[in-house]
């Protein structure tokens, strides 16, 4: 697989995107902690500039090729053949944009709600943004690993310092779960490095073939890291705690970007580097995905905490994503990637909305709400849109993604398709029931007299509303970006695996 190095923008745009926020964090470090307004405005300014720069990616992206674009490569640690190598293809480009957009919204939603250690908060958030973009851009396994792990530091602080009452438990749990998974991946990376003749270059690793037995071991080593992040059943238990206890901005970043990295990892590493093992493991992966969809949905029905409910809905929705990816066909995979973006937008928006009302009431209990629609009509309208998108109503983005995934799933295994479809019904159940309990019914005295969304909050939520309909009505605008890369990836997986297809096929027959 030849990988021409191209960069259609005249400057190292990816480095700029990675290091702008990190430089911004350093700048804030120098600001006196008393000047809180200045700190906020500088963070907002930096995040907006980063977003504007990232828009250049969209306009300059060549949709016709699967090759890496905007690439940069510099020797970094020659002794170990580690390079600073970055680039984007159709699979990763949208995630960079998602990260830059989400960061702006996170800063806006935190404007008044962060009261202590304001300086550290914005430093963490910007540092996190840089690391997130780095994860999606890295074309060197060690560079990737460094960004991947570096994210843990700000995220641990975000949850643990500014989170809810049970924040310390949640932060430690989040950190340890992710770390255990990651270090196992590190061992896998090093094994791969020596086997492939000492290279960490992802593109080079993709071109080689590895013994099947080794692929299987590596697949599970990578699985440890990625499945925890997604999170897949049964390693999802950190997520409800982390999402629930994190401050709004933390929940949004977690839901919108961080957990996407797990699924991204499968796409970027497991599938192309270990095609045979991935192929052989599809029944297991599809099985786990379906369990996540249904189990996550059922648990949502029993939740009494707003954020916890949305957190468990993430488990269910991410089940759709991994299902789509491991159908290993075009519809499923495109749907999976699109659904990652969708989930980022919708769940991000839901957490932002919950944050907005939490700032007013300081309670997350569903029972403390009721009749909010009559008190906050604008808020209710927006939340309804997000609810519909989450359920996957036609004309919203959720529909497109889930439809494609189920289409793909039917092609791979009818049983999985049917079971996944029931997940949508459960989804409609818990989301509509949630909406009913919070927004309709009798007005709870605790919510009477609340002010509706102010201009800042509307500005925060509006981009999400626009994206929901944009993707819902004209998904090709986004699918076009990933098409060439997805086709190429599938080709690699299918041609890269000979004997594995047979075994996987047998198991599939049984499932049918």
């Amino acid at each position: 697989m030849e990988q021409a190095m191209t960069n259609s923008v005249g400057f190292p745009i990816l480095s700029a995107l990675i290091f702008l926020p990190i430089a911004g964090a350093a700048l804030i470090l120098l600001i006196n902690r008393g000047k809180e307004d200045l700190i906020k405005w500088v963070s907002l300014g930096i995040s907006i500039i980063t977003f504007l720069v990232s828009l250049l990616l969209l306009t300059n992206f060549d949709k016709t090729t699967h090759l890496m674009q905007f690439t940069e490569k510099h020797a970094w640690i020659p002794a170990w053949n580690v390079n600073y190598s970055v680039g984007l293809d159709g699979i990763s480009v949208l995630f960079v944009l998602l990260s830059t957009l989400i960061t702006i919204l996170c800063i806006l939603i935190s404007w008044n709600s962060i009261k202590i250690k304001l300086k550290e908060f914005f430093i963490s958030l910007l540092f996190l943004e840089g690391a997130m973009i780095g994860v999606f851009c890295s074309l060197d396994f060690i560079l990737f690993y460094i960004f991947w792990e570096a994210m843990l530091i700000p995220m641990y602080l975000l949850i643990g310092v500014w989170g809810g009452p049970n924040r310390i438990y949640a932060a430690v749990k989040f950190f340890l779960y992710t770390l255990v998974g990651s270090v196992l991946m590190l061992v896998g990376i090093i094994v791969l490095y020596f086997y492939s003749g000492r290279t960490f270059d992802i593109l080079e690793l993709m071109t080689q073939s590895y013994p099947f037995q080794m692929q299987l071991l590596l697949f599970w080593a990578f699985f440890a890291a990625f499945a925890v992040k997604v999170p897949m059943f049964p390693v999802h238990t950190w997520l409800p705690d982390a999402h629930t206890e994190a401050p709004t901005a933390g929940s949004v970043v977690l839901a919108a970007v961080l957990i996407k990295m797990g699924a991204y990892g499968f796409l970027r590493f497991s599938l192309p580097i270990l095609p045979e093992a991935s192929m052989a493991m599809t029944p297991v992966m599809i099985g786990l995905s379906v369990i996540a969809i249904i189990y996550g949905g059922l648990i949502c029905l029993a939740q009494t905490d707003l954020k916890r409910l949305i957190a468990y809905s993430s488990v269910s929705h991410m089940g759709f994503v991994t299902l789509g990816i491991f159908t290993l066909n075009t519809q499923g995979m495109e749907g999976g990637i699109l659904q990652m973006i969708n989930h980022g937008i919708v769940t991000g928006a839901l957490f932002l909305s919950v944050g907005a009302i939490y700032d007013r009431t300081h309670t997350r209990q569903i029972a403390d709400y009721g009749g909010v629609a009559s008190v906050m009509p604008i808020y209710a309208a927006m939340f309804l849109i997000f609810t519909f998108a989450s359920i996957g109503l036609p004309a919203t983005n959720g529909f497109v993604g889930e439809f494609l995934i189920i289409l793909g799933a039917f092609a791979a295994s009818q049983l999985a398709g049917v079971l996944a479809a029931t997940g949508i019904i459960i989804g409609a159940g818990y989301m509509l029931w949630l909406y009913q309990r919070v927004f309709f019914m009798e007005t709870n005295p605790k919510v009477s007299g609340l002010s509706d969304l102010d201009a800042r909050e509307i500005v925060t939520l509006l981009p999400m509303v626009i994206l929901i309909f944009w993707i819902g009505v004209y998904p090709d605008a986004f699918l076009d970006y990933m098409r060439a890369s997805v086709e190429h990836l599938l080709e690699r997986v299918h041609t890269g695996s000979g004997q594995a297809i047979a075994t996987a096929g047998d198991v599939m027959e049984l499932l049918k």
Binding site: R33, W76, I77, P78, A79, W80, K117, E120, I142, Y145, I146, E149, A150, L152, I153, Y156, L157, G160, V161, R167, I168, A171, V172, F175, L176, L179, V180, V183, L184, L186, V187, I190, V191, Y193, F194
Partner: protein, 475 residues
Amino acid sequence: MQFVMSDLGPVMPEIALTILALVILMADLFIKRKATIALMSIVSIGFVAYLLAGSMGTTFKGLYVSDGYSTFFKLIFIINVILTVLISVKYIEVEKVNFGEYYSLILFATLGMMLMASAGDLIVLYLGLELMALSTYVLAGFIRYDIKSNEAAMKYFLLGAFASAFLLYGTAMIYGLTGTTDISAISAYIVEHGLASNPVLLLSMALFAAAFSFKIAAVPFHMWAPDAYEGAPTSVTAFMSVGPKAAGFAVLGRVFMGAFGSVQVEWAAILIPIAILTMGVGNIIALSQTNIKRMLAYSSIAHAGYILLGIIAGTQDGMASVLTYMLIYGFMNIGAFAVVIMLRTEGFKGDNISDYQGLSKTHPMAAALMLIFMFSLTGIPPTAGFMGKFYVFMSAIDAGYAWLVIVAVIFSAISAYFYLRIVMYMYMKEPKETVRLSTSPGLGLALAITVAAVIIIGVFPSAVVNFARIAVAGF
């Protein structure tokens, strides 16, 4: 028989250090301001570092070897001295043990370490080890009026004496077997006579492993470490946790790779269980500590376990990773101890983990530094701690010990819990009482050096890695 004067070039740094340490010991009688003595020590050790550059070579008929390997270790010792002196100046004042001998003892201990690193003969090795150990025993008990400090010195001395005995026993056996104490001659003899599974050789290797395990505080020879670390003056704890450990690894590498290089399979079988136990016991017992010095003691035990992986690998890369890790470990560990020392003020011990509660609110700068050191000790990028671990793991996997590395990374993940606990106390809890900090320019400088090193080596490890690889090129 004609007497030929040996070439003194390779041993010049040690000669200079001996003289300067004696001068400082004498100067203490006349100089009332002890900070001046501290400054003199730093200048002296700086001069020794300068001499180091031109000291390459072998002398005294192979008794004394100054090569890249020893030079790298000597640099670690010198950095260790400079940082220790910087964090000591104010601290020993606060502890009311502001005596000049403190500095000359540190220099003598360092002299011992330098001898160990350069030893080409088991007897020279023993001399260096004793010089180092005796000076450190005294340093550990430096707070005369404090019962805990006395206990530390006593325990360290008694158990250290056992270690010395083991070392002598091992040396005697190897002498009986091969008729020499010269390291390269031993190696040649073993290869020549095919002694691969000779029981006497195995026994003497086990004795060497035991003796060196004492020095690097590896399980099951770690018992002295927690008490000695806790009781000793904090600055000495910092010194002990880096210097003697590095010296221990220097001789471990020299003897096992040098003398027993041909029977790597045999001694790997001895060292692997030690490494696993060390990582396990160190990390798991550290989880339940309430005293930060004790916690760092167990953490230091655990780190010895990771570094052992590099030795077990038995390759050049493995040795280079040991050097790299030791240097990085020196910076991050002394950095952490420097923060611990800051909390020690008159009338306040400040060595309980709960004393760190809310530190980020009262002293955000100190808390941020501690945060960086804790993440580095955990091995989270982009700090140097990650690069150290990465290199050790990489060389162990290259040598075919992937399963051992899996054990190591799991323990490493467990260690995150107790390091993060400090961060949690500092950042996620409200301060109980106002903690005052005792700061001084020296301490500030030490913190600046260590934090800069931790971040710069973390982001650009290339220079250190290359240096380490060149240093072990002779092996």
